[in-house]
């Protein structure tokens, strides 16, 4: 039964494509939303952890006696008290607290539970740990040098290695009219969510463990807690609190929730663990620093025909999702090049004594995009063509199957290029006479590809939405995906409301509770709009179908003569006065012989392929691919090296923008995060010790430091997408850093290949220019 052809739907009620305030605006704006650390329960204890001050050391002894004796302290536990099974995302490498050895500064060694946070902190001061320092693995080069001490035995400090080769790379390079190679380096970015990781956990009377946490992935967390504690999955319940930003940092790598869950289970009492900001800097997974060597070959038409990529990435001390991040850095950006058939990739991930690295917004994409777009700008200059034109000439299009097997149902890269060029006035600014004063302006540009969903777990990348119609005719949706601020719940409510022609306010989306919500992988890989959006549409249609069938039967009118509008179903022509409200129908659905609550479950699993299962990484991993481009105008002060961003325009090809208000918000937020990474955000280490674990020293962009970011949307309608939509949360994070580097080069002729683009590096480049010019003059003299 296809309802769309049988019954008319009041299209005016739909908010699809209209700026729509977030459905949780009221609770967030009045301070009533309960985030991870806001929740309290009677008898709750407060947890704090003692972290290792050494980056690599043996634990000789731990004396907890004085701490345990402090009044108000309930437990002082060490690694020996934790289950002896190892935990980790893929490779199981660590216990809940460290035993025998610590491998990074900040590794969790002792956990205290006390009546309040002050007492817990006081107790930590009384714990005495004796360490025997070991030699450090300072960086990834040292890690892979022969004879270096191993962070983990029998690994050679190599976490993973990828080798992919397609076509005949050497002869493609031989055919190329121009070959260029260069090396680029990126630094580790802290996710920087404003809500430090926070968890409250307790044990129910029946012995089941309940964990209420700030998380992107409630169900993956449930699996992880069950595995780490040796419990059946059914004995663990994870409830998602309001999430105060996540950016990849609140999935299954952080240890705050794991330690809290274990302590609560062990003590049988409610425990609350809120990271301090320093805890969070040390305990969160920041993005892997990568060194990317690129070699690209271009034919005499300016088409990219050969590419070779070598990446060395810093995993830090434990392996989490960094292996997958590296895979993305290696493979994904190749898929932007329409004519590329011959490509060779080599990636290595090295264990060091840095804090473990993992998932951060863009998931390997920003690193690759910085290298690729810098490289393409260098190539364009050598070719003597405009960099925007160079990318346009090579841009993939809808209908293409790319070099690594991505099947592009939609592709708005070219349109993104046009929009940002227009938006920033590329042609006019390019034609301008170069500035010669102390302050010089320049323009730069970059483009990017990202996935919407990614088949990677258990060969299922589906999403399930359960919809219930309550007896007042309103709808409650349950999902395993998370809203961490990006507007997922609003999008789901819009999709369902649109199918039922009811206001968005008549749909409530419940936060994930693994006891009652349908299973979901959670909010990762920009997957929620395209996957859960489709499921919400299906759920809405299914409800509508049930309502129409019941109305048709009750009114004695064929479904084709019924109209759905304003929360009612009525006969279109013959009997205009006969109508039934959704509430009446929902009640009839229950209160009859054999009746039941009007409740449906709908699933969407996309037609994609588990490329990660193949050594060559080939296959169509996502149901849709998003594109973005960004143009930047900077002004560089040649006396101070300071870069000011005068103007920037970002375009996001997210397919249909279901909620343009949310899309613009995501685009601007992502662009700001990339500007921070490009110019000053950097986890700084000395001997593997983090030097800037606070917001005064690790500087994120403020309102004053940013221009008014302009954003545009390209609606390349995605055939697999809900109303044509794709993901919109990460893509705009990718192009910013290279766009700025390219603009700096345009302004002052200094090419920065190592992030961040600091005044010191620019001044050093300018001095080098002067020295070269002076040497040239001497030769001529």
């Amino acid at each position: 039964m296809t309802m769309t052809t049988q019954a008319r739907l009041d299209g005016d009620a739909s908010t699809i494509g209209r700026p729509t305030p977030q459905v949780n605006a009221q609770e967030k704006l009045t301070g009533r939303a309960l985030y991870g650390g806001d929740f309290r329960t009677p008898g709750m204890l407060h947890l704090k952890v003692l972290r290792s001050p050494y980056a690599h050391a043996r634990i000789i002894s731990i004396d907890t006696a004085a701490a345990s004796a402090l009044p108000g302290v309930h437990a002082v536990l060490t690694g020996d008290d934790t289950p002896d099974r190892l935990t980790g995302v893929h490779r199981k490498q660590h216990r809940i607290l460290a035993t025998s050895k610590v491998r990074f500064v900040g590794e969790e060694v002792v956990a205290v539970a006390a009546i309040d946070e002050d007492t817990a902190r006081d107790a930590l001061d009384l714990v005495r740990v004796e360490y025997e320092p070991l030699p450090l693995v300072h960086n990834m080069d040292e890690a892979l040098s022969p004879g270096t001490i191993e962070v983990h035995e029998s690994t050679g400090n190599l976490s993973i290695e990828y080798k992919v080769e397609r076509g005949d790379v050497d002869s493609a390079f031989a055919r190329a009219a121009l070959v260029h190679e260069a090396t680029y380096e990126t630094t580790s970015q802290y996710p920087g969510y404003l809500e430090p990781m926070a968890t409250v956990a307790w044990v129910e009377g029946d012995g089941r463990l309940v964990v209420r946490a700030s998380t992107q992935t409630a169900f993956l967390q449930r699996n992880r807690f069950a595995e780490a504690l040796g419990l059946p999955v059914s004995a663990v319940r994870v409830i998602q609190s309001t999430v105060g930003g996540a950016f990849g940092g609140k999935t299954v790598e952080e240890c705050n929730s794991l330690i809290c869950a274990w302590m609560a289970y062990r003590l049988g009492r409610p425990v609350r663990f809120v990271n301090s900001r320093l805890d969070d800097f040390l305990g969160a997974r920041s993005s892997p620093a990568e060194r990317i060597w690129l070699k690209m070959g271009v034919d005499n038409q300016g088409l990219i025909i050969a590419k070779e990529v070598k990446i060395l990435a810093d995993c830090g001390a434990y392996e989490g999702l960094a292996t997958h991040v590296l895979q993305v850095s290696l493979v994904r950006s190749d898929n932007m090049h329409r004519y590329l058939k011959d490509v060779r990739l080599h990636g290595r991930l090295a264990f060091t004594n840095h804090p473990p690295r993992g998932a951060v917004r863009g998931f390997g994409g920003p690193q690759a995009a910085f290298a690729l777009n810098s490289h393409m700008a260098e190539l364009a200059e050598k070719l003597g063509i405009d960099p925007v034109e160079f990318m346009r000439r090579n841009a993939v299009r809808a209908g293409d199957t790319t070099v690594h097997g991505f099947e592009l149902g939609s592709a708005g890269l070219t349109e993104c290029l046009d929009q940002v060029s227009e938006g920033i006035g590329w042609i006019t600014k390019k034609a301008r006479r170069p500035d010669t004063g102390l302050k010089r302006r320049g323009i730069g540009f970059a483009g990017a590809i990202h996935v919407s969903g990614n088949r990677e777990m258990g060969n299922w990348d589906g999403s399930i939405v359960t919809a219930r119609m309550t007896t007042d005719g309103r709808v409650t949706l349950s999902t395993g995906e998370s809203d961490m601020g990006q507007g997922a719940y609003t999008m789901l409510a819009q999709c369902c409301a649109s199918e039922l022609a009811i206001p968005v306010s008549h749909v409530t989306v419940l936060p994930t509770d693994t006891d009652v919500s349908p299973y979901g992988h959670g909010s990762i890989a920009s997957r929620v709009t395209i996957l859960a959006g489709n499921a919400a549409i299906r759920a809405g249609r299914e409800i509508r179908g049930r309502l129409l069938a019941l109305a048709s039967e009750t009114l004695g009118v064929p479904e084709g003569d019924l109209t759905v509008s304003g929360g009612e179903i009525f006969a279109t022509s013959a009997l205009p006065n006969r109508r039934l409200t959704f509430g009446e129908l929902a009640r009839m659905h229950i209160y009859r012989h054999g009746g039941e609550e009007l409740r449906v479950t709908a699933t969407y699993d996309p037609p994609t392929f588990l490329a990660m299962s193949r050594p060559d990484q080939y296959g169509n991993v996502a149901p849709g691919y998003s594109f973005a481009a960004q143009a930047v105008e900077v002004e560089v002060d040649t006396e101070t090296g300071q870069v000011e961003i005068l103007e920037t325009f970002v375009s996001d090809d997210c397919g249909k923008a279901i909620n343009p208000l949310a899309v613009h918000g995501q685009t601007c937020g992502a662009a700001a995060m990339s500007i921070g990474w490009a110019l000053y955000e950097e986890m700084k280490f000395q001997d593997c010790q983090l030097l800037n674990g606070n917001f005064a020293d690790y500087t994120m962009p403020t309102a004053e430091s940013l221009p008014n970011i302009q954003s545009g949307i390209i609606e390349s309608l995605e055939p697999n997408g809900p109303y044509g939509a794709k993901g919109a949360s990460e893509t705009a994070m990718l192009p910013g850093a290279a766009a700025i580097a390219n603009a700096v080069y345009d302004a002052v002729g200094v090419r920065i290949r190592e992030l961040p683009i600091t005044p010191e590096k620019i001044l050093a480049g300018l001095r080098e220019q002067e020295a070269t010019a002076a040497a040239r003059e001497r030769r001529h003299a």
Binding site: L194, C668, A672
Partner: protein, 158 residues
Amino acid sequence: MSRVTIEVVVNGQPHRAEIPARRLLADFIRDDLFLTGTKRGCETGVCGACSVLLDGEVVKSCLSLAVQAEGHEITTVEGITSGGELHPLQASFAEHGGFQCGYCTPGMLMAAIAILNESPSPTEAEVRAGLSGNLCRCTGYVGIVESIMAAAEKMRGT
């Protein structure tokens, strides 16, 4: 540990409480008065999530001791709605994308109130300068600035 008794008015409600002398104003508001709308994001006065109004001036409650509020009036995010109606700034933040995750939002609203108290017709640059003590990771500040500018216009009745 020494304890002191303080008297403060919070959101129009007088409170008398005996607290440890080292109690931070942020913790007093959150843990003793259960007004958890005020957030803690950094403990070092940088992020501004804990911003509240002290006699109408914006202060960072993580850098203030509760005893310093003795005899003063404090306003938190819970105190800015009136008669169940959202403050024009709150309504504007919803309409113009002034928040996403919402964690910085209570502090942003406090900063915004202080900006508009000082200058009912601020320029965009003044708004950005006024927000420089508050971090947001979600919005790139575009929606926040727009929200404040739009609310200012509405509040001026123009």
